[in-house]
Symmetry: D2
Subunit: 436 residues, 4 copies
């Protein structure tokens, strides 16, 4: 990668997150010589693409640097000879997400974008599309790196690594958000904080926390337990019970609330759905407001309102990863990679979320070995669900799908699993060619 002029393809370029990404490339222009950014979207997203693309162009212009922004509906044009393909698309858009949230809630089950049946539905819609994209990459840009942000990020990355020849790394802003959260509690620069992460995407534990290399996990748990923090915009911020956190002895991610506080979270979701709307419905409005803002021809920076959307640190995660690959940095990022024995309690061919050394040849996870029983069982149960979800999504097998949902820890019975599955298949018919 001695070449100087990088081409970046952004699939789902019309996303409201795009300005975050553009800002990231602008900030790193010195170390990351991007020449062309192709923002690609589908016909239905054309309007959004044009709005956000306009903003992107103004941002680059203001920065006075030589990045060319291209807007296109032609995926093959975007991918051809790209050095990096960033995927941030959503099949079915926000409306599909809202359905994903509402179907499980109907049966008193957590209705969430990525966790539980909602994530299953999103995976089923996304898998045929990501496989298509990868066929294009295999043909048109076989040396490109796929940086996947499309959720459920771990599941989608595992699909790519199991079923294609594309070099892929999955990303999520949760781990970096946890680092920032700890830094805030400690009142220090986030750079002084390191966390050993182990787990799956949206089910990752911070097993040890370091300040300037000193292990402060125990100290921090004492002061922290019960604090209202370490959460995300997307997720209700219930405090953790201090004794529970002490018994756990490590940091759960915000999404753990769906597992460790299921009853409370479900009550909250039902209450919200009945009042302000599901998270998807709220986001829909936020997005509309954002696009109104983006239209302003005088706006030429990432507007601060984007933070409300939930994508904080997205640019940090993505652009600094790309830079570490390009510059062969050998620094540590938290990524979604093939397990390959890193966590001895999971199969080799699944994807985990963990600390890895990043260089020009990709992500090299730091070895973990066996994890403690207290986090092992849940990690294994969710991973088994994910493996079946991928198999169902690739083959369109009803029975595999039924098993996937049945064994999900948040689904109370095979009976409910079946009802939810039938609703999902019915309501997403147009997006599920594999089930025909």
């Amino acid at each position: 990668m001695s070449k100087k002029d990088l081409k970046i393809a952004v699939i789902g370029g019309g996303s409201s997150y795009t300005p975050e990404l553009i800002e990231g490339f602008i900030k790193r222009y010195e170390e990351l010589p991007v020449r062309d950014i192709y923002l690609m979207d589908i016909e239905e997203g054309k309007e959004k693409l044009e709005i956000v693309g306009g903003l992107a162009k103004r941002m680059v212009e203001k920065a006075g640097i030589g990045i060319n922004i291209h807007l296109t509906l032609d995926r093959r044009e975007a991918i051809k000879d790209a050095d990096f393909v960033v995927t941030q698309f959503r099949v079915g858009g926000i409306d599909a997400r809202i359905r994903d949230e509402k179907i499980p809630l109907k049966y008193d089950v957590i209705g969430q974008e990525t966790t539980g049946p909602g994530g299953f539905a999103k995976a089923q819609r996304t898998i045929p599309v990501i496989l298509d994209i990868c066929r294009d990459i295999e043909e048109l840009a076989p040396n490109a790196w796929l940086i996947n942000f499309t959720n459920p990020s771990g599941v989608i990355t595992e699909t790519v690594l199991k079923h294609t020849n594309v070099k892929a790394i999955g990303l999520c802003n949760v781990p970096i958000g946890m680092v920032y959260g700890i830094a805030e509690i400690l009142g220090v620069d986030p750079k002084r904080v390191n966390i050993d992460f182990a787990g799956l995407n949206h089910l990752v534990w911070g097993t040890h926390i370091y300040l300037d290399g000193e292990d402060v996990t125990e100290k921090l748990i004492d002061s922290f337990a019960g604090a209202k923090s370490l959460s995300m915009k997307n997720i209700p911020e219930f405090p953790w019970d201090p004794e529970f956190i002490k018994s756990l002895g490590m940091y759960p991610c915000p999404y753990h609330r769906y597992y460790y506080l299921t009853d409370k979270m479900l009550d909250e979701q039902k209450k919200e759905a009945a009042t302000v709307g599901t998270r998807g419905e709220v986001v829909k409005k936020v997005e509309q407001e954002l696009f109104e803002l983006y239209k302003d021809p005088n706006l030429n920076i990432k507007p601060p309102q984007l933070e409300k959307r939930g994508g904080a640190h997205y640019s940090d995660a993505a652009c600094s990863l790309i830079s570490s690959i390009y510059n062969d940095k050998k620094d540590i990022h938290v990524v979604n990679v093939r397990n390959n024995g890193t966590i001895a309690d999971l199969p080799d061919d699944v994807v985990i979320e963990t600390n890895a050394i990043i260089d020009r040849n990709g992500a090299h996870p730091i070895n973990i070995g066996h994890v403690p029983a207290k986090i092992r069982g849940l990690m294994q149960a969710v991973k088994a669900y994910e493996e079946l979800t991928i198999e169902a999504g690739v083959k369109g097998n009803y029975y595999t799908a039924l098993q996937a949902l049945t064994i999900h820890p948040l689904v109370p019975s095979a009976t409910v699993a079946k009802k939810i599955l039938d609703d999902i298949l019915e309501q997403n018919k147009e997006y599920l060619p594999q089930y025909k």
Copy 2:
């Protein structure tokens, strides 16, 4: 074991199951030359011991064979030089079981003797006692085989194998009951039916079913799915959904209903608790009736009413296992043994329930390797719970106990786990010296 005159110690000898066991020894007298059976119980069980001991003596007398029945409250006398120690005791008796059922139900959680928080409570009461018994065996009968029936049988056997030097095999009548259930469906002699079992005690799957060696799993699933069968006296006999069973492609054990049909089972438990009483309360009455029967000085056989109690095939499982060890038979039994890599997806040092060759040197499991993802996750999640349950039970560690209950798939949140745990510790205070 060339010796001819075997000594059997039965810990919990006053149990209503004892006649089943005595019948087993009588039937096998030719191949299993038992001379002395010590029925041992504690002071509180003295009356029952005398009643059931009287019946046992009459049964032996009627059979006209040379077995001597001894009744004792002295555990060391019972164990000294025994060849086999059979454990079938219940710490706290039926009343403790009823409490185990009621505490979780209070929080809308499955309340069951061995599955879920009820099994956790039972394990905490039993662990200190089984460790005491094992110290006696180590001292007084170091070559004895411990045949454990005390529930939760897998957890108790794992405790013994991890924390003592006693040679132990765990038993359960569920697998043999499943074989008889299939034989009934097929209308054939149970000897013609074989099942490959894999899993944990009370969470065991019949992965393949054979009739005269031919694999009939698929055939059987088609005809069977939806049938009201393969259940146990202890467990409500809800039929399985045909599509669910087809998607599973194997035979769940009756206890799987608590996991796969949680909502329905919980409703049923709550309904029963409010009307006829919990299963423990029902059993309490059945037991009282049984002991009334046992008192009859003219009764000298196992009364048929015992079947209602739920212990069918108990004698088959126990006595034929003992005979296979004594006679070095090298036949196949389904037992609870150290995993040691048999199921590649579980740690080496845990106990699994599986097919094993039995000979004079113990139980040698037939290798399994990896299990399918659809049963792997649940098996791993419950095993992690069991490992923490044992650790908590041995050390009396509150935090470990809290994690054990939190990660149990049937417990909805850490909050509920804590409430249940506090109730369990409070209501079982006198039986939990390790928590002091």
Copy 3:
């Protein structure tokens, strides 16, 4: 397999061992209703086939049972609809074996039919042929069991299991020979002796020895160490050093002498080669004598001289295995099967030699777990050699072949490995189509 009239195909039917096999079927006719035995051989073996086939027919006639012996050069005719295919062919015959022995000896390396470079050469010649046979079986007798005796038996069986869909079990008469050897030392009926076997074909250790179920390993080692026994006709019977055997604490197989006593065995081989000839040369004469005997139209039983050939217990191993499959016996045989985690220190997909339960569905190994370090390293080193040997044999890859020979524990250097390899490829040109 409820059918009554079995068809057996014997590939390499013209072998001098065939009468042993025929005798085995005759003895078991009651329990194993064989109707047709197809003795198949290639054009070059026609004369031998007719001689040994004639004897086979006379043996069956004398026994007065309804087995039909068919002689054929048409492999597809032999295999079509067979229930069992027994492979005992040798590509290149005895002359190729003699070359296999002489090439390594030229470089001061053990020259042996199955162990070391000789076994490598034999594998390279055999692999293309066994794959061809398996294509026929897949097409013409997809339900047949392949019982492989062709050496190197473990390597050939692993080739079949890795590269075809044929149901195969590998056999060897070494383990049963070790049982008979121990029985002889103890002066008891071999049926009273059991051995736990673990390892690879021709590299198998008897880890525990039982008499009537009692572990007599230690006792036996004391009396046995240094005894001149437990060997085979094929292998010089050097006594083991008593202290070495005590330090090993288990029973090596006769072939272990090539590894544990390399220097002495090499000296002996060189001495023999210079005087009576290599073992292959000796066998060549024995075979000629045997065929002279076989021609005798009055001979209608297996002649006792066959024992000298080295195939003792061959019929026991093969026919009793076939009977256990046919009759769903669930008894224990020592076989070559897919590891699948049985020995935790070897890959899943390799073949090991170990105790297994045999029933209508094949061989189910009894779990072993980790083996002691003292036998682990050698087992792993030889297995790595075997894996590369198979890969080289299937692909005809020179570099893989060079690595296979280089890492063999009996080959002193890459330089010698290359010389031996080049000689092997040159002298076996006509049998190695895969290297073209």
Copy 4:
């Protein structure tokens, strides 16, 4: 480790290597604020300690920095409150090494300081001493890091990690030497070269070589194979055969010559022993010359002649590792660490040599997973030997020692192993208290 004034204890401080180490600390004084270096040696080494200690003091003085050099025969004084303990002692000195080389050669077996029976003997002498040192560290400096250079470095580090509570990292200058060797071939700065290392100490393969992050392994093999290079002062520089290197596809370390070119290396050793003397005898003279140089009161730098001794890059490896720990650098070093699943084909509790991230909490290996069969078998065989060597060395068990030597790939038979073992035990009597 916020403290500013570090104390370093050097066990075996009288070694001729010490100036190399002192130079390393002087060069890094800015980033590594060492205040006290205790050079400790035993009574027999007093003279050397004073000579080399004098030079060390002059070197520090010349550098004009505030490091205090202390000379002591009191190990406890040296260790007390040390931050780092560096071990570079040799039990029995050079004379013992010469015996280690000569004993195997007597039986036509490679006689080498660390590889084969010579390394076994060295391990047996060293193990009791390192365990003693670790008891001191546990008591007097429980937070200290032990940086072990004493050979066989992997075996000694594994002994410490298995049998003590000391935090230890093993080091060797072979991997860094390989990096420098490649840089020389490429004609580039060594900083631009990275190698993925996997294996054991003195048996490590460079599986991939990178220049500026680009994988140049294949390219390099083509140009390199046959080159006379990548060797060490200690080891005869025979060229590799080009075809062998191509078939291997990776970089063997110089010590691999003992395994891959055993015959040639043995011839060379025998020739040298008969002429210039064994390597130990040569080194003995080099050392005497070095100490003559060191005595010169005008010498105040590391003399260039030290390079001949074979310890090139020793200071780079040791001091930069210490600095990475102290400064929490999170950079990559090649070290000897607990495997813990990093290489999936070796047990968890053994020590491997591999790339690891170094920070204040120690060495965190980058995950490897399974290694190719071509390097797996030899790695496993040597590791099994090492495990038995450690067990024998700790317990002084003759039988375990006999097995260790027997299974070493360079020892041709149990018979030779026994002779060598008996010679080793006899000639090292005074250093082997554990065998009494």
